[in-house]
Each structure stands twice: as C-alpha cells, then as structure tokens.
C-alpha cells in the first residue's frame, strides 16, 4: 500500500475528528470542573455527540475511498454512524440518573462511551482489515473498562474480567483468520482482496480463514455457540452500558461482518452463507428458549439480544440487496426498542431497589403508567407485534429470506418470534396484571423521560410510517458491494 495521506482525507474523517476532540474535552473538563459540578459532563458529552452528528451532514451522499483504501465514506457507513451516535446519546441520557444512584464518577465514563462510539464509527467505515481491527479494539477496550465501572459491585467486576478474557481469546481467533486472509491475498484491503480471491473457492486455507473470522465475529454479535459471555456480562455491567453494548457493539459488529463478508469474501459466499444459516437458526432458537426461563430482566434481555442477532443474520444469509436492507432496518429498529427497555430498567433502579428482577415490574402500570406503557410497547415490538417498528423489521427480514429462497429460515424465524412473545408478555403480565409493589415510587427524571419518549416515538413512528427508513436503508445498502444470490441452499 502506498504511503502518504493527503489533507483532503482529513476532511472526510471530520466526524471522527470532532468526536475525538469532544472526548478529550470531556476528559479535561472532568479534571477542571469542581466535584459537585461534574454532572454537567453529561451535557458536554451530548454536545460532542450532537456536533459529530451535525458534522456528518456534508457526507450525506458521498461515496469515496480515502487514505488509499483504508476507509470508505459512503451511505452504508453513514447509516451506522448515525445509529451509533443516537444510541450513544440515549445511553448518556439514561446514565445520568444511574450514575447518581450508583455514586460513580462520571468523567472517564463519558469519555469511554465516546471512545467506544469512535471505535464503532471506524469499524463501519473500515474497508481494510487494519482499520477495522483498530476500530474494533478501540471499541472493545472501552467496553471492557465500562463493564467493570461500578467498582464496588462484584457483579460488575466479574463481568469486566470475563468480558476481557473471553474477548481477548476470541480476538485471537479473529486475528488468526484475518492474517490468513492477508497471507492468501497479499493485501489487507477488502475490495482488492475480493478480486484476488475470485477463483480460490476451493482453497482449504481460505475456508479455514472464513471459519475463523465467522467465529471471531460470531463472538462479537453473541451468536450461539460463541455467546456464553453475553448473559453474564449483560447482567453484571452497569445497565446503561449493557444497553449500549447490546445495541452499539452489536450493530458495529454487524457492520464489520457485512464489510468483511459481503465486500471482501463474495467468492466464498456459499461457505459463509451456509455457516451463518446454521448459526442463525441455532442462535435464534437457543436465545429464545433460554430467555423463557429467566427471571432477571437484564439476563432475559441478554438472551433476547442473542436471539435478535439470530434474526438479523437472516438478512445476512439472504445476502441480497433486500437482505442487507433488512439487516440495516432491523438493527436500527432494534436499537430503539432495546435501549428503551433498558431505560425502563434504569428507571426502576432506586436507592432501595435494584430494579432488574421481573418482580420489580409488578404493578408498574399503577405507579408509573407512562413507563409501563413504554415497556409494553418495547416488549411488543421486540416480539414483533404490529403496528410497532419491531414488526416492520421482522416482516422485512422474513420476506427478504423468502425472496432469496430461504423458506425454512423464514419459517423458523416466525416460529421463534412466536416463542419469544411468551417471555416478553410475561413482563407485561407483571406490569399490568399484578398489583404487589415494592420499594419507593419509581419516578422518571427529565433525562429518563426524554429517553423513553424518544424510544417510544421511534418504535411507533417507524412501525406506522416506515417508508422513510426503508428508503434510507435501501440507499445505504446499495453502496455495499452485493453478491448474486446462490441457489445452493434452497
């Protein structure tokens, strides 16, 4: 790869630069601000995220490769960047109250959230294994620390250690796969790689590389059997971080997945389609069935999020323009309902109640009707009931599978969403059909109310009026190099 980066390249990474600057400001402000004023840091963080979002505006229809093919600035990346920034902002909004209750210092916390977001943005733009890897590590390391941020809590510590050890292990596998890809093609650029792999479909080393990369990515998206870390980490990590992890990290990993496989390995699509096909089925099924027995809501949502990774994989397997579109739509829709559900858990966290057990939701509709209604909506949406956004997302995923000829995948998907409703509605039963209440009155702080309002509005609007999202997602999906449909698996 020829060296040298031109100044115009810096223009194209303006959003990333703004975000980096914002992160540094937060870090400095943390030192400068007196201890009792540090709550203002959340505002600084939000402004940084907002400024980054605004700085994306000039690139609304850009489609270039910069820095000699290290990064692509295209609509695909843009879609994900918006998703990350919105998810990060919502996470910050729900963190204010949570940090207060837990008595944790906000400085590094917000800094790390911004760092993680930066990592995600680099992952979505990366079309080179090196860029992607740097993004991945920036994100992962931030999350390792964030997972253990509530220092007095052993649960939190344990989550961090586990996440770190297993993350490092899976990263090794991923790197091994990546290095094989490099070794076989002599380049780290995914698009160049794609041309060099053409005709190498039978190369056993390449098959091995595919398998290893699938495993490494499978860990990040928490696909079965690489999911074991997720329930423990989700349960132990601070709730807003769990939310961000299950949304941001998952979406970023899917962006990486699409870049690597769709852009870099179209030649091997028969192999990775088959792998993801099996992974998708196993992931949906195990995730949903394991979620049925959970009584801890964070753990239940962890399994639910595993199951959702399985649904999203359906779009990847389809691999068509419609499949990728469905993947993007679902990831966005999922972000809002998942973040919303976690926001309700944060709302239930009071000085005297942990708020993440099913019984903590008992009688919520009497004590806080809005929160109960919001949760009802998120649960129905996660279960795929119309007219919520979740239904739209699932409809799109399943029809993309049918469209590409994967009938059984759609059938299993529908069956799974039928099963999943069982545990989602159990939450509704507790909120609406039980009256024993515990602890003090759960009140929504303004920030939490805003969080819930955003999530509720998005879940409803994207379900009732999904057209805009469809158009945007379609345009974004088109900028990703697409593979033709294979009929091998029909």
């Amino acid at each position: 790869m020829p060296a040298g980066i031109s100044t115009s390249d810096f223009y194209y990474i303006l959003p990333e630069l703004v975000l980096t600057a914002g992160a540094l400001v937060v870090l400095i402000a943390d030192v400068l601000l007196p201890k009792d004023r540090r709550a203002a840091l959340s505002w600084v963080t939000l402004i940084a995220l907002g400024a980054t979002l605004a700085s994306l505006a000039p690139f609304a229809s850009t489609r270039v490769e910069i820095a000699h093919g290290l990064i692509a600035v295209d609509r695909f990346a843009l879609f994900f960047k918006i998703l990350f920034l919105v998810a990060a902002a919502i996470t910050v909004l729900m963190s204010v109250r949570y940090l207060e209750v837990e008595g944790a210092s906000p400085g590094e916390y917000y800094f790390l959230i911004l760092c993680a977001t930066l990592g995600m943005m680099i992952m979505a733009g990366g079309i080179d294994l090196v860029t992607i890897f740097i993004g991945l590590e920036t994100m992962a390391v931030s999350f390792y620390i964030l997972a253990g941020f509530i220092k007095p809590s052993q649960r939190s510590n344990e989550a961090a250690v586990k996440y770190f050890l297993l993350g490092a292990f899976s990263l090794g596998i991923l790197l091994y796969g990546m290095s094989l890809m490099y070794g076989l093609s002599g380049t780290t650029n995914l698009r160049v790689m794609a041309t060099r792999f053409a005709g190498q479909e039978q190369n056993p080393l390449l098959v091995l590389a595919v398998i290893l990369v699938v495993a490494g990515v499978g860990f990040k998206i928490a696909a079965v059997p690489f999911h074991m870390w997720a329930p423990d980490v989700y349960e132990g990590a601070p709730t807003p971080i769990t939310a961000f992890l299950s949304v941001g990290s998952k979406a970023a990993s899917f962006a990486m997945l699409l870049r690597i496989f769709v852009e870099g390995l179209p030649a091997m699509s028969g192999d990775w389609r088959l792998l993801f096909y099996v992974l998708s089925i196993v992931t949906m099924t195990v995730g949903n069935f394991a979620a049925v027995t959970q009584s801890n809501l964070k753990r239940m949502l962890a399994y639910s999020s595993i199951a959702h990774a399985g649904y999203v994989l359906i779009g990847v397997v389809a691999g068509t323009a419609r499949g990728v579109t469905a993947t993007l739509i679902y990831l966005l829709v999922y972000s809002f309902m998942q973040l919303g559900a976690f926001a309700v858990i944060v709302l239930l966290r009071r000085e005297d109640v942990v708020g993440d057990e099913l019984k903590d939701f008992s009688g919520l509709h009497v004590r806080n009707p809005f929160a109960a209604f919001a949760m009802l909506l998120f649960m129905l949406s996660l279960g795929g009931i119309p007219p919520t956004a979740g239904f739209m997302g699932k409809f799109w995923l399943f029809s993309s599978a049918i469209d590409a000829g994967y009938y059984w995948l759609a059938v299993i998907g529908v069956l799974n969403s039928a099963v999943s409703l069982y545990y989602y509605v159990r939450v509704v039963v507790f909120m609406y059909l039980k009256k024993e209440t515990i602890g003090s009155e759960p009140k929504a702080t303004p920030a939490l109310a805003v969080t819930l309002a955003i999530a509720v509005a998005a879940t409803l609007i994207l379900g009732v009026y999904p057209r805009l999202l469809f158009e945007v997602a379609e345009a974004s999906a088109r900028t990703l190099g697409m593979v033709p449909i294979t009929t091998a698996l029909r």
């Binding site: 027995t293 509605v425 009026y465």
Partner: protein, 644 residues
C-alpha cells in the same frame, strides 16, 4: 369517512388512558360510550351510502397512506367497506355500544382509575376490531388481529387480584401464539405465491385458476390461515383458552368472547372466500373441524355448573356451526349465523351478568334457582335468548342455524348434517337446563359465594343486600338485545342477506337453494329437534329432577368425563406443557444457561476481596468453560468441512 369509524373509539381510548385517573366515572363512561355510539352512527351512515350503490359495485375504500412501499412490495394502509365488512362494523359498533352502556352499570363498583382503565381497554379493543374487519389487506387485518388479542388478554386478566384471572389471560395468549404462527406463515406464503397481500388482488389473480384437486400451495396457504382461525375462534384443538377466558368481567365475555373477537376467524375465512374456494381439501377439513367442535363443545356444555362456562362452551359450539357453514361453501349462511349469534349470545352473557351481579358474584348454577320472581326483566330476556339459540321458529337463531344445516345437507354432507342436527338438540338441552336451574325451581339456600376468595370484587358491595333486578342501564340493554334476538333473523328472509353479501364472496358461493320440498322437510326436522331438546330439558330439569339424578348416577363415568371436559387440559398439560417446561427449565437451564459461578453473582458486594477474588473464581472454570465452548464451535465447523 371510513377512517373515522376506528378513529372515534381510539380517541376515546386516548382520553381515558391519559386522563382516566382524573376523570369521574360519569365522565369516563360517557367518553367511552359516546365514542362508540358516534362510531356506530358513522358506520350506519357509511353503510347507507354503500347501499345506495349498484349491488355489483358496492365497495368503498380509503387509503389512509402508503404504509410500506419498496420495490415490488406495496402495502398501503387501506380500509375497505364492502357488504361483508358492512355487516361486521354494524355488529361491532352496534353490539359494542350496547355493551359499553351495560358496562357503565356493571362496573360501577370499581374505583375511578380502574373504571377508566376498563373503558380505555374496551375502546381500544373496538378500534382494533374495526381495523380488523375494515382492513383491505392481510397486514392491516393482522394489525387488528394482534391488537384485539392484546386487549383480550388485558381484559381477561382485568381482575388480576384473582390468580385464575391472570392465568387465564396467559393461557389465552399462549394458545393464540400457536394459531398466529400458522397465520403469519400463511400470510407470508400468500405473498410469495401471489406477490400481493390485498384481498381483492389475491381473489382476482385466482380468477383464472382452477380449484386445486390435490394438496397444493393454495391448500397449504388456506390450511395455515385456518390454523390461525382455530386459535382466534376457539376451535379444536385450540379452543381450550375460551372457557378460561370467562374469568374476565362479564360484559367483556359478551363483547369479545362471544359477539366479536372470536368471530374473527370466521370473518377471515369469509373475507378469503375465493382463496378457500380454490382449496376444496382445506374446506372439507374446515367443515369437519367445525362440526366436530360444535358437537364436542355441546356435550361439555351439558354438565358444566358455572353459568358462564356453559355459555362459553356454547359459544365454542356455535362458532363450530359457523365454520361448518364456511367449510361447505355456505359463506353467507355462516356470516348470517355470526350476525344473529352476536345478538342472542351477547344477550345471554349480559343476562348471566345481571344474575351474577344480583347474586354477589355467584356463578354456580347449583346455588341458583327461583330467580324468576326477583329478576323478571333478566328472566324474560334470558328466556328469549335461550329460545333464539335453540332454534325455535320465529326467533333469530332459527333462521341462521336452519340455513347452515340446510346448506350442509344440500351440498351432500349428510353425515355432517346429522352431527349438526344432533348438536342443535344438545344446544336446546343445555340452554334450557340453565334457564330451569337458574330461574325456576326453589331458591337456593343463601346466595353466598362458595369461595369468597374468588368472589368478583365488583360485586362485593351487594353481598348482603337483597336480590334486585338489573339496574336501568343494564335492563335497557337486555331489552334491546332481546328485541334483536327476535327480529334479527327476518333480515335474511327470501335470501336478502345472502344476496347482499354475494359480491364479497363471488364467485365461489354455494349454489342456490334446492327446491322447496327438501328445504321444507329439513326445516321441519330442525324444528322438531329444537322442541325435542327443550322438552328433554323440561322433563329432566324442571318436571322430574329426580330423573336427572338417576341419569347422572347411571352414566356417572360419562358424566365425569364430560365434567372434566374430556380431560383435554390435562392431556395438553401432560403431552405439551410439561415436556416443554422440562426441556426449557431442566434441559436448557442447566446446559445452555450455565452459570458455573452462581455463588459469586449472588453474593454481590459482600466480600471486599475485589478483583483477586473474582479472578480466583473465574479460574475455577467458568471462563475456561466459556472459552472452550467458543473453541468447540470452531472445531465443530472445521470437523464438518473435513468430513464433507
């Protein structure tokens, strides 16, 4: 204009849901009833407009907006009024308004907030039901389909203080999941096969196709859709949730679990008459399931002691009739029965509600008796309902049920006709058994509930007051419905109802009625059977109660089986519920959700040891196990490739 019909109750819902806590009962009730009555008025106006059109072009449509558009897929949010949906919206808003009014009195003992919550659910239900019947394509219908389900669960569990109530809500929910699984697959397959989800377009693209004589795609689609219908409309094998749903407030049973929601499955088949008409195999199956359910539920209804449960099984049984009609291609007759049934079954439920209200929550027939004197309005209206459902000539049920049986016979399904006829004998017997046990005979000792903990909270205040008939709002509704139960059937005279509906089912409706001779004979047989049923009930439960006891003793085994509803719940529990529970709790819980270091998680924060402690525990296995599973995944995949 069409949008206004579901929108009005939705506004009522919004008002009561947002401000309900601050509203007095009077205001909350007025808002809910007002919204429904207005919606009824608009519906009537819309139907009149529809009637002014040519019979062949009686369709009104309103596309609210383009819901989903992308590439080859376009699903607009369209409401469409045709003769079939016209009948449905009149039932939903008409009967719905009456039941709203009735509820203002029935639920009066509830606290203000609960009262508003009840009405907000009821309004929301009406909204979704109207969307369901007005939707012009499968997806809009599905919005209503899931929405009414949700409201139904919330209303069944409305008295969540009762454990049985929230259990029943859960059961309804789970059973309906199975149905919906089939339904969604049916819809997806429809899209694959026809490239559209619009009912009219599907019907149109079938126009050039012959019927499927073998089991092809259309048969699969219709069968899957029918699975959905068996869930929603409580047919074998998914009927088990409906009797339990009686835990909800009685007006809810009348509206949702008798007159409207449970008929959605029948409606859906009627809506897709052309599609089903192309799949004779599925239709045959529908007919058999329908008549089997009718008979099966009728026999259970004979021996139940809870007044609402008798009515619930009766509903299941009558829905069976409707499916029988659908199955033999007599769509108009099925919808006609749906329409008359809405009147008399709502009447019977509300009448039983008045009894329960008067008796402080008592639902057991054995503890009733002699109520005729104290509750005259309730008695006479209930009697009319019973006569109507039994199929006595001149009353609504006669016209519709007779038509179904006649159409069944004419289409050559003699066996199905025979079973249907037998069921109508059962209907007359179990219905008059209720009339005699509740209203005739000697008053039972004291109307004290046997299980005080199960007593309906709404009725507690009445526990010690003496018996009184239905309050004015309730009495009025009962009288209106009684009038309907008598008169509703005359609409169908001379095939007018059928003729009106014809465009909705074209071109696959059953052939015109056979010559008068057979029709007359069949009618006479039906009438004889109805009177025979009433006669049998009169003998055993009024004139000679000892004979009933002797019969019960002689057939003790059969009676036990019936009383336990053929042990279906137990069988399902043993064959389906327990295995799933064992697999997911014992199997999955222990193998998939391994939490090897449970202790560390549970003992949060108690040890100050911190990181080193964590690391120590981590090293005892869990992380290693997790990493091993990761590696195992890779090895498995590799193994697959090596072996291939």
């Amino acid at each position: 204009m069409l949008l206004l019909i579901p929108l009005l109750p939705f506004i009522g819902f919004l008002v009561n849901a947002s401000f309900g806590r601050r509203l007095t009962k009077r205001v909350a009730g007025a808002v809910a009833c007002g919204a429904m009555i207005l919606s009824f008025v608009v519906s009537v106006a819309a139907v009149f407009r529809l009637l002014s059109f040519d019979p062949e072009s009686r369709v009104m449509a309103q596309t609210v907006y383009e819901w989903i558009t992308s590439g080859d897929l376009a699903v607009p949010f369209t409401l469409r009024l045709d003769p079939l949906s016209a009948v449905m919206i009149l039932i939903v808003t008409g009967i719905g308004s009456l039941i709203h009014v009735y509820s203002t009195a029935y639920m009066h003992e509830e606290r203000d907030a609960e009262y508003a919550r009840y009405f907000s659910y009821l309004n929301l239900f009406a909204t979704f039901m109207l969307v369901l019947v007005l939707g012009a394509n499968f997806l809009v219908l599905f919005v209503g389909w899931e929405g009414v389900g949700l409201c139904s669960y919330l209303l069944i569990g409305f008295w969540y203080q009762k454990k049985s109530a929230s259990d029943a809500g859960k059961k309804a929910f789970i059973v309906n999941r199975i149905g919906d699984f089939g339904f969604v697959l049916g819809v997806l397959l429809t899209f694959v096969r026809f490239g559209t989800l619009d009912f009219q377009q599907v019907a149109r693209s079938l126009a050039n196709l012959g019927t499927e004589t073998t089991f092809g795609t259309v048969s699969v689609i219709t069968l899957l859709l029918f699975v959905g219908a068996t869930g929603k409309s409580a047919q074998i094998p998914l009927y088990v949730w409906l009797p339990d749903a009686m835990e909800g407030p009685t007006p809810v049973s009348a509206l949702i679990h008798a007159a409207t929601m449970v008929t959605a499955g029948v409606y859906m088949i009627g809506r897709n008459a052309v599609l089903f008409g192309h799949a004779p195999l599925t239709l045959k199956f529908v007919a058999v399931i329908g008549v089997a359910t009718a008979f099966f539920a009728g026999t259970i209804g004979l021996v139940q002691n809870d007044i609402k449960r008798v009515l619930a099984y009766s509903t299941v049984s009558q829905l069976g009739y409707m499916f029988l009609a659908m199955g033999v291609g007599a769509y108009a007759a099925g919808i006609f029965h749906l329409y008359t049934h809405a009147f008399f079954k709502a009447l019977l439920f509300l009448g039983s509600g008045a009894v329960i209200h008067a008796l402080a929550g008592e639902q057991d027939l054995r503890r009733m008796g002699g109520l005729k004197r104290d509750l005259p309005v309730t008695y006479w209206t209930f009697l009319i309902g019973a006569i109507a459902i039994s199929g006595v000539p001149g009353f609504a049920g006669f016209f519709s049920k007779d038509e179904i049986l006649a159409k069944t016979f004419e289409s050559g399904h003699t066996l199905l006709w025979g079973v249907g006829l037998l069921t109508s004998l059962l209907t007359a017997i179990y219905m008059f058994r209720v009339v005699y046990l509740a209203f005739h005979g000697k008053p039972a000792a004291a109307p004290q509930p046997a299980h005080p903990e199960e007593e309906e909270p709404a009725a507690q205040a009445h526990a010690h007051s003496h018996l009184h008939d239905a309050p004015p709002a309730m009495a009025l509704v009962l009288i209106v419905l009684a009038a309907g139960s008598v008169l509703a059937g005359y609409v169908g005279l001379g095939g007018r109802f059928e003729h009106f509906l014809e465009p909705s089912f074209a071109p696959q409706t059953a052939k015109a009625a056979a010559d008068g001779g057979t029709g007359m004979t069949l009618m006479i047989v039906s009438i004889v059977v109805a009177f025979a049923g009433i006669g049998i009930a009169t003998y055993y439960f009024l004139k000679n109660c000892r004979a009933a006891a002797v019969m019960a003793a002689r057939f003790a085994g059969l009676r036990l089986v019936l009383q336990n509803k053929y042990y279906v719940d137990e069988i399902y529990d043993a064959t389906v519920v327990q295995p799933i529970r064992i697999v997911s709790e014992d199997g999955l819980w222990k193998t998939i959700d391994v939490r090897l270091i449970d202790g560390a998680v549970n003992g949060v924060g108690e040890t100050v040891g911190g990181a080193s402690e964590v690391l120590r525990r981590v090293q005892t296995g869990s992380v290693r196990a997790y990493a091993a599973s990761l590696l195992l995944g890779v090895v498995l995949v590799l193994g697959y490739y090596l072996w291939r």
